[in-house]
Amino acid sequence: MTAPPNPASRAPAALPALAVTHVTHAFGTRKALDDVSLTVPAGSFTALLGPNGAGKTTLFSLITRLYDNRTGRIEVLGEDVRRRPAAALSQLGVVFQARTLDLELTVAQNLVYHATLHGIGFRAGRRRALEVLQRAGLADRADERVRNLSGGQMRRVEIARALMHRPHLLLLDEPTVGLDIASRAALVAQVRELVAQEGIGVLWATHIIEEIAPDDRVVVLHRGRIRAEGSHAEVLAQAGAHTIADAFLHLVREPEPIPGVST
């Protein structure tokens, strides 16, 4: 059995990998996202930069339909996540912030399980698992329990798993948290290679400035609002800063309280 036909292969090249338009989400009375709009062009590496509590994970939960978006629109290669969830989710790969691998199963078993969740049969899943593990440099660990892997290797397996069904958009929610510098660099390089070679659109949520390269698109999210979006240079211009670190600090800076005025 093979993977379900992916509409992205027939989608016009102009379609963005991800388009989020006027999305608001609240937990009770507290707004986690407020009128958020952003775009991830196909074949781009877009860094979603925001401090802890910015709303990145909530946004990811809406894109992946873990939460239902009730306002605005989220489209994955033109497919509305709310109206056509199957079509949208079939072309979406995701690496969550918290580890989601089953530690008791082997690497290959985790990947084959994921394949079946996308309708890919066991044999085809096993073949594809070895293929993606080969690319991740982990083919020799295929039959080892996940429990025995290092943190960096687990993350690479999670990325390999997210690629099992050949998605056109890859979401990574702070994937380098808890990794050492070398593992972090290797992981970023692996994902950039995917963008360059396979034309996958990547949305990489992070609060680590060093992970952003000059060629990246950058979206700055703070307190549930988009503070800046564009190319590296455009974001620097919007913030009036010389470095992305200065731009980030400027964009997420809270306004000085005015004495006697309550906010």
């Binding site: 379900p4 027939r10 033109g78 056509r84 199957a86 989601t100 199963l105 969740l117 309708g119 066991f122």
Partner: protein, 280 residues
């Protein structure tokens, strides 16, 4: 299912593969967690070896269907213990489905392109298949304890186990989705499992309950678990109890529908506390 302009469609074989994958993973986890398997087995065996054996001389069971002669008390309680295995397993796996929905494996499951109702039903089915394995192992051990059932009963009980497993699993999913206080399994045991188990026909026939307390008899009669026990009891003797089957099937459908409606990841435990950590 809508077919988008790109021609994407979830095929029937894809649905079957997805369901098989979910069951396969549950089976692998079950094989890898021998402690979980043993603890699930020890509980009913303690009841059988100690409680039932101790009460053998105290509690007599007269000839009531499906039994054609006087039976040992151990024989009488066996269907109730089988249902208890399913009750524990159903509630335990349903609770984990609720509390894992915002972290862990449930996230990966829920971002599958297949519909949420189908994924939940598949996950319930996977849990039921595991409980069926536990039940058959229990029955094999019980056989050496003079609980010898007619051979046809070992086959006839399978559909009864699937049906009652769906009812109990879906019930667990509804309860744990709705009641936020049920945050650990100990409270579930105290407030759900034990009352359901004791206020049923698992340990004593309903006519005996009626003799001693009419109120308790009513409670037992209204308890869906009673019908699961009776469905299993008759099936173990190769007989079909239509009323029990009807009640269990109806309850399974109602609980399943309610569970699918109640299972909303955005209404999860973390969301109820004010949103996920990242959004605080």
């Amino acid at each position: 299912m809508n077919t988008p302009p790109g021609g994407f469609r979830l095929s029937l074989s894809g649905y079957l593969v997805c369901m098989a994958g979910i069951c396969w993973r549950e089976g692998l986890r079950f094989l890898n967690q021998r402690g979980r398997f043993l603890s699930a087995l020890v509980r009913p065996l303690v009841w059988l070896f100690i409680f039932a054996a101790g009460f053998r001389s105290v509690l007599g069971v007269s000839i009531i269907p499906p039994y054609e002669t006087y039976v040992l008390y151990e024989v009488y309680v066996t269907p109730g213990l089988v249902a208890m295995i399913q009750l524990f397993n159903g509630l335990q796996s349903s609770l984990s489905m609720v509390y894992d929905r915002e972290v862990g494996a449930m996230r990966i499951l829920l971002v599958s392109p297949y519909p949420r109702w189908f994924l939940l039903v598949s996950k319930l089915l996977a849990g039921i298949l595991v409980s069926v394995l536990q039940v058959y192992t229990f029955l094999a051990v019980a056989w050496f304890w003079e609980v010898e059932l007619p051979p046809v009963g070992y086959v006839a009980v399978l559909p009864a186990l699937l049906l009652s497993g769906f009812m109990l699993g879906a019930m667990g999913l509804v309860m744990s989705s709705v009641f936020r206080q049920m945050e650990n399994f100990a409270s579930v045991m105290n407030f759900v499992i034990f009352p359901m188990f004791f206020a049923s026909s698992a340990l004593y026939p309903l006519w005996r309950v009626q003799e001693s307390s009419l109120v308790l008899w009513w409670i037992c009669t209204l308890n869906p678990f009673t019908y699961a026990v009776e469905l299993i009891r008759f099936a173990l003797y190769g007989q079909f109890e239509p009323f029990a089957a009807l009640v269990v099937a109806l309850c399974a459908l109602v609980f399943l529908a309610a569970a699918i409606l109640a299972y909303d990841p955005s209404a999860g435990m973390m969301a109820r506390r004010g949103g996920p950590e990242d959004a605080r």
